[in-house]
Subunit: 755 residues, 2 copies
């Protein structure tokens, strides 16, 4: 025993010694072009504040009030092709398929800006002047001649503006700007100029989050000489404020649409620093956060601490790869897997709950941004493995959400004390089940089970009533009825496993029965999952290649028919056995989709398609691993390597679709290590084909897992043999126990099949 420990320790040290500045392998600009929807700004792992440049502020609707969809490209506020920066705001989603946020926008201006229009102080910029690193961002604004640098603690953003020219300068606080806008999105803004260098306030918006308020405290490193504001809404009456000159040096401001200027005289090359602390609770909370996390003006110290924090978290997986690009893609993916969920509480544990009341997180840290339809698949299983405490806290946050929910339900897609009800199913369940099944003993099983069961039984939620009555969601209820049925069946299987753990046999049986609902929407005659009508008949018109309105969402029948993660053997049987299932998979990956069907595929660019397989859409994420249940398991190995090679890359276009709050990246991290959680809620990881040459993973309780790949090579995609702690295994999965026990998994690779 002692010997083993020593050897491991030496190994870890060896890896650490070679490459401890993991941040240098990360490129935050990856995914900022096309549809990756990542942001390049500065943040710490799971940080509550994400200062980042927004290149355009788009309207969600055209002048005629029609939804344009144009804002979709700007979910994170930044598109690499753009040549101007509109401002630096403090809240950003990473990789989501919908937009919101972009709060508290700052912009340095040389001279005097026109507050009537945000365009007046937008500035051109060039990527040559741009640097993006974990926890640090830098750009030169060409119009005012200002270098902008950003860094952050968990709750505080730091800006450093260096003005090239001496003279009058302004910092604009734009409380109107949103990542996307429409009339009515800004509900209320409240600001106070507390003294000559401190401003507090909040902004309340509606939108994807219906009732969302962001509180802040903003501090300048030197006093402004004067300030002013414009209120651009026309809310008519505000008491007897009219007796004041409100627009000049009057310290109270409120309304719906407000921009503020703070005036300075700057010397040439004089740096002006701004700190912005956020709070979900109050301006008092923001001030507390400011004081606790950034009581000083040492920008570089914060930048260095942010990088050190990233190195600590990125270093939880230490890898060796065949190429530098592979290392960069891996650590960039790992970076993207830690940008959400984000911490959502003040330093004292206070946070705003779903009921809009202020709660205190007793015994956990509260998180928000749960894009669960995406992230239950690989992101949460990854966090469960390498960020166990955070994942436990995230589950505690979900259970708190449940307690605060009026339905009550666990989160579906929640952010900033709101449920936005995006996507289908109730996929907090598999996140919770996955952690419990894999042995997390900090979560109260019965409380979790009760929350899952209640969530699965809210009759007015998205077809649940009909699903419970008929065993499937009928086509009449929704254009995504089959996806809904399949995903709820999987979630229900997870509940059955929890019920089993809790020795509740009746409940387990009930949910195991519900988990079989996939059978009710499989049409054996056509060999596909298919929309079924309320009367039990199949829907007549049925296009297995189309994505929209065919019973599915973000996937067509070819892909979604493969969605029975909880019982792949049964699926294989339905599909006609291992050989026919293998053939179906081969056809999926090799068929040629016509342009029309490609055009209607969501969320990806043409490059994101392999045959009819769409890696940018999450329902496909387990598909390559399904070969393991067919007559041709080696195809998993080939396909997975092919996907890693072609769907992920360095460069701004390195993501083939939305990163989806880290799910796309988490898929890569698992796959590169050689295994993948096809069915979260089971303790198994399907074996794939590792891309790394070697990896050391820091696990909970000080344990370490080493993955070693023998005979690794670009063409050596096939796994000849796998040994766990020196013993060969004759199965196509690893168990969670095997990973968490620590030790070594060795893959033996070959360029040809020897099966």
């Amino acid at each position: 025993m002692k010997t083993t420990v020593c050897i491991l320790a030496i190994l870890v040290c060896a890896v650490a010694a070679v490459a401890e500045d993991y941040s240098s392998f990360v490129d935050p600009l990856v995914g900022t072009r096309n549809m990756g929807h990542t942001f390049p700004g500065a943040t710490v792992p799971f940080g509550m504040v994400q200062p980042s440049p927004d290149t355009r502020h788009l309207s969600m609707y055209d002048d005629a009030g029609k939804y344009t969809g144009e804002a979709y490209r700007y979910c994170s506020g930044y598109q690499y092709e753009d040549t101007t920066i509109a401002g630096f705001s403090h809240t950003h989603f990473s990789g989501t398929g919908h937009s919101d946020l972009g709060d508290i926008t700052l912009m340095p201006v040389a001279g005097i800006a026109d507050l009537e229009s945000g365009d007046s102080y937008a500035s051109r910029f060039r990527h040559e002047t741009e640097t993006a690193e974990p926890g640090y961002y830098r750009v030169r604004l060409d119009d005012p001649g200002v270098e902008v640098e950003l860094t952050a603690t968990t709750r505080v953003a730091l800006h450093r503006y260096t003005f090239e020219q001496a003279g009058p300068a302004q910092v604009i606080l734009d409380m109107i700007a949103n990542i996307y806008n429409y009339d009515g999105k800004n509900v209320w803004t409240f600001l106070r100029v507390e003294n000559d260098s401190l401003v507090t306030g909040y902004r309340q918006t509606t939108g994807w989050a219906r009732t969302r308020t962001v509180y802040f405290a903003l501090s300048f490193s030197k006093p402004f000489t004067s300030y002013g504001h414009k209120r651009l809404d026309e809310t008519p009456y505000h008491g007897f404020y009219r007796r004041f000159d409100q627009e000049q040096n009057f310290p109270e401001m409120a309304g719906r649409e407000i921009r503020v200027n703070f005036d300075f005289d700057v010397a040439a090359d004089e740096p002006l620093l701004v700190k912005v602390a956020l709070s979900p609770v109050s301006t008092a909370g923001a001030l507390k956060n400011l004081q606790a996390e950034a009581p000083h003006w040492n920008f570089d110290r914060v930048r260095n601490e942010a990088r050190a924090e990233w190195n600590r978290e990125l270093g939880r997986i230490q890898i060796e790869t065949m190429t530098e690009d592979q290392r960069s893609v891996f650590y960039t993916a790992l970076y993207h897997s830690m940008l959400s969920p984000i911490v959502y509480e003040d330093v004292d544990g206070s946070y705003r709950g779903l009921d809009q009341n202020v709660h205190v997180s007793e015994g956990f840290t509260n998180y928000t941004i749960f894009s669960l339809w995406d992230t239950y698949r690989a992101l949460h299983p990854l966090l469960n493995l390498i960020q166990t405490q955070r994942n436990t806290d995230m589950i505690a946050s979900m259970l708190a959400h449940f307690d605060q929910s009026v339905h009550p339900m666990l989160p579906v897609w929640s952010h900033y004390a709101n449920e936005n009800w995006c996507m289908i199913g109730y996929h907090a369940v598999p996140v919770i089940a996955d952690a419990l099944i894999k042995g997390n003993d900090e979560i109260d099983l019965q409380r979790a089970l009760d929350a899952c069961v209640a969530t699965a039984n809210v009759p007015y939620f998205d077809g649940v009533g009909e699903y419970r009555e008929l065993g499937y969601v009928p086509d009449e209820v929704s254009g995504s009825s089959v996806s809904m049925t399949l995903e709820m069946a999987y979630d229900d299987w997870c509940i059955a496993r929890l019920a089993e753990m809790a020795d509740d046999e009746g409940l387990a049986a009930e949910f195991d029965r519900r988990a079989g609902a996939f059978r009710n929407v499989f049409d054996a005659e056509v060999g596909f999952m298919r929309p079924k009508k309320r009367d039990g008949s199949w829907r007549a018109e049925f296009n297995t290649l189309a994505t929209h309105g065919q019973g599915f969402i973000e996937g067509n029948a070819w892909n979604y028919s493969l969605y029975v993660p909880q019982n792949v053997p049964a699926l294989v049987e339905l599909m006609g056995g291992p050989e026919r299932t293998g053939a179906h998979l081969d056809e999926l990956f090799t068929m040629e989709l016509d342009d029309e069907h490609i055009a209607h595929t969501e969320d990806i660019t043409r490059d994101g398609i392999i045959g009819n397989y769409v890696h940018g859409n999450e329902p496909g994420h387990h598909i390559a691993y399904l070969y393991n249940w067919t007559d041709r398991p080696w195809q998993t190995q080939a396909r997975v390597r092919h996907i890693m090679d072609t769907m992920y890359g360095t460069g701004t276009d390195g993501l083939c679709g939305n990163d989806d709050a880290g799910q796309m990246s988490a898929w890569y991290v698992f796959s590169a290590l050689g295994f993948y959680p096809v069915c979260p809620g089971s303790d198994r990881y399907a074996l794939g084909s590792p891309l790394v040459e070697r990896a050391v993973i820091e696990l909970a309780k000080g344990k370490t897992l080493e993955i070693r790949v023998e005979n690794q090579g670009a063409a050596n995609v096939y796994v000849q043999k796998v040994e766990v702690n020196g013993e060969g295994i004759d199965r196509l999965y690893l168990t969670h126990g095997e990973l968490m026990g620590g030790g070594t998994v060795v893959f033996f690779m070959a360029s040809t099949l020897e099966h």
Copy 2:
């Protein structure tokens, strides 16, 4: 000593035995006709909730967007002439000269209402079916055939609806209604149907209070069978809520303009009860308040407790009067003097502060609604006398407001965590000074002084900069420049007294100098205070009878020239001595004002004028007492009795102008007892002519003051002699010490002058 105590105890008991149900002397309908602006609904003394009928919901602007002023008559929501009730809302000002509030409107409906329009469920009513008592209100809604009864605890309103007909019925929760409306007044509404009988939520409005939120919890005595809502604003996007049928039985609602229906089947004569708890903090706070104050469904118990509470507070002054009407007017006035300021905190002491943060009142109870320009004159001095603890808490609330103010300033006119900046001066100062000068030792003198000094020195506040520089507010700054100068001079005199108490001689001298500013606006040539221009010249056009734009506000030169409460002898000297001042006063009270000048007088009806003296306007309130400083002090006695006889009465039109948050009523209470605080901040009360025959006043620390009036009679208005504890006094004032020492003041009356 012992004997005295015993005699007093017997006296108190005797009075109490005769008339302990003081509530029966109160008519809450007094002032509900014309411009009294009182409300008839149910509330407890200083209660946070005031459920009351609103007869119309008016728009502040006409269809063309022009301010109509029509809403002015509806400051309290109710006009006696109206024949319909639009709803029962929970927040009401009493007697103010501006409107706001009217939150959380309920209305019982027989059958099914149309939520598109509030008119659909407005109901006719008749005054014959109406009962208004302290803590209780009852009316029959003729259209649905529903008896509505209201009662309240401090923070919880109880409604009892008795439906005459069996059948389907609804209770409408109208979150759109305001006492006055305009597009944009409703900022946001958030509602949750927690279960089949409990609703929580809040509404955020702008208006007189710029950023105001009222939280509530609403509980029905029996479950509703279903519910629904309409959102009538068109805020376009709210996440994926669209996947639900939000309008039927969906428990989350949010938007700007929302009406909700709760459906019941009622039996004939079945009472349905509703409890509505308010909170300034959160729905969690409202639930706490609900549980703490009304955990049961016993309407009559709450009603009885409310009445008992009123009897306790009204009984602090036990009087005997010549007529029953006089008794009724007195106790109604005393009632109206306890409707604001109101408690503004949850049962746990949490409240929302001016900075919109949640604070906890450590060591005091937080109050709001400070109509200080009105109430510093007599209401706060009255509360200081008979509600000492509450007045101390109100001052603590003002100091908390100061701490939370960004300027920082003490409240000017504040309500619901907002400053509305109504009217002029900084009259929190005299309230604080009055309490301190009169010996209140619970207030920290230095902290209070610092707050007063800071408040008086905010340079951008309403002419303060110029006032400090020039010694007066120049005409160019404001149409009310003289009023501003005079009132700030008085406030500054109060600060000087506090500085004196604190042994800060320099500060006292500085503010005594400022207090002399009244000299700078007195034009000896015309014998009036007069607007002065920046260059020191008097304004040329000057109409001493006009109220608007002549340098004054709510008063003309004839009245306002008499405003030097801090130094009446100096004023008398300026006016040319006691005789000329007496003549000026006589002329004021007897001159005939032409119709045009009457029409432009604010705030009163024709009945509210005696000559050119306008009792409905507060700047006149000390004027009748000024005769005490002239050659004809007996005229004070005659005028005061005349004002009491003619400006106050029983009946709905019993108030000659806005009650102004209790100031008009407090004037009456003092005057009826025979003395009045002409100069709060001094320890003197000017003697007048008592109306009562006898009064026993419960003072702090268990002491009791008896006022006895010998030879009282309708015509016996002149005071021959005053004895304090058996000794005659040869001066025209009582000191606070004399009152608070306990004992007896005896007035000897006559019908003729024997001076």
